[in-house]
């Protein structure tokens, strides 16, 4: 018998995995992969809450989150490409030097 807590627990595990990756990875593309996993954990939360309370607004919000994920990946590709052209590599150290 599956309850709401099962789905929320899966989302929490995925979010923690994504957070670990976003904090530890050096390469910007690897950080983006980790953020993707975190965003998909949020999607599970939205759909699970919507379906277990039969409230359609959670599903609608999930659709818009998918649109934002697609926009984020497109902009991320362009930005990381520019970082790579200017510095020869796309890592987080390159971006943290920008504040000096």
């Amino acid at each position: 018998m599956l309850t709401l807590s099962h789905f929320l627990a899966l989302a929490a595990v995925l979010f923690a995995i994504g957070l670990y990756g976003a904090l530890t990875r050096r390469n910007l593309v690897a950080v983006l992969i980790s953020v993707d996993i975190m965003l998909n954990a949020v999607l599970i939360n939205l759909v699970a809450f919507a379906r277990f309370t039969d409230n359609v607004q959670g599903d609608l919000l999930a659709l818009y989150v998918v649109a934002v994920i697609a926009a984020k990946v497109a902009i991320g590709l362009a930005l990381f490409l520019n970082v790579f052209r200017h510095n020869g590599r796309a890592t987080v150290e390159v971006l943290s030097r920008m504040k000096q």
Binding site: A9, L23, V47, L63
Partner: protein, 203 residues
């Protein structure tokens, strides 16, 4: 529609696949492999949406998150010459665990107290479409004959999302475009068209 009972066996199999692939995606030092693991992870999450009774969300997950996103990620890996990635520093794994594990524990405490219906209610495609593309408070007669009142009514947000996607597309082209250069130079292969080796080693 009537509530239904999702299969626990399917849930645990899908959840195990998703978590294992997510761990591979954030720990593998080979980023092409990590992108593939991300694709498998997002692919299995489509099954979770199906189990929750949201078939449109499952289809969207297959099309966009399991199809387009990993392919774009592989583009990024190859175009920025970042086939391999290391940890930020030897200490960062400990820092990451110190942040992620307490968050996981706190989430489990809250998750165990979550209240909802005993079973999920599936969402029909027709109802979702009407909610997405109508104004709030409008009434609509479904093909089954029953009348529904629109609760979501996000037609304006739908248009805004379309504009956001267009702006992201045009913005990505403007950010990445370098005028007056050959295609190979656009992706960073300087000197390639003069017959020289690419000076950039893999990062």
């Amino acid at each position: 529609m009537e509530p239904f009972s999702p299969s626990p066996v399917a849930f645990y199999l899908i959840a195990l696949t998703a978590v294992a692939m997510a761990v591979l995606a954030v720990t593998s030092s080979n980023l092409v492999r990590a992108s593939l693991a991300l694709a498998f992870c997002l692919f299995s999450l489509a099954g979770i949406f199906w189990l929750l009774g949201s078939p449109f969300m499952a289809a969207l997950q297959l099309l966009i998150n399991a199809g387009a996103i990993p392919i774009t990620t592989i583009f990024m890996v190859l175009m920025t010459h970042s086939r391999f990635s290391r940890l930020r520093s030897p200490l960062s794994a400990i820092v990451g665990l110190l942040v992620a594990l307490p968050l996981l524990g706190a989430s489990f405490l809250l998750v165990s107290r979550a209240t909802g219906a005993a079973q999920p209610t599936p969402l029909g495609l027709e109802r979702l479409g009407v909610e997405l593309l109508s104004q709030r408070g409008a009434t609509h007669t479904l093909s089954t004959g029953e009348t529904m009142v629109v609760q979501g009514g996000t037609i304006v947000a739908f248009q805004v999302a379309a504009v956001i996607l267009l702006v992201a597309l045009v913005g990505a082209i403007i950010i990445a475009f370098r005028p007056g250069e050959t295609t190979l130079r656009q992706i960073g292969r300087r000197g390639f068209d003069r017959g020289e080796e690419s000076p950039r080693a893999d990062a």
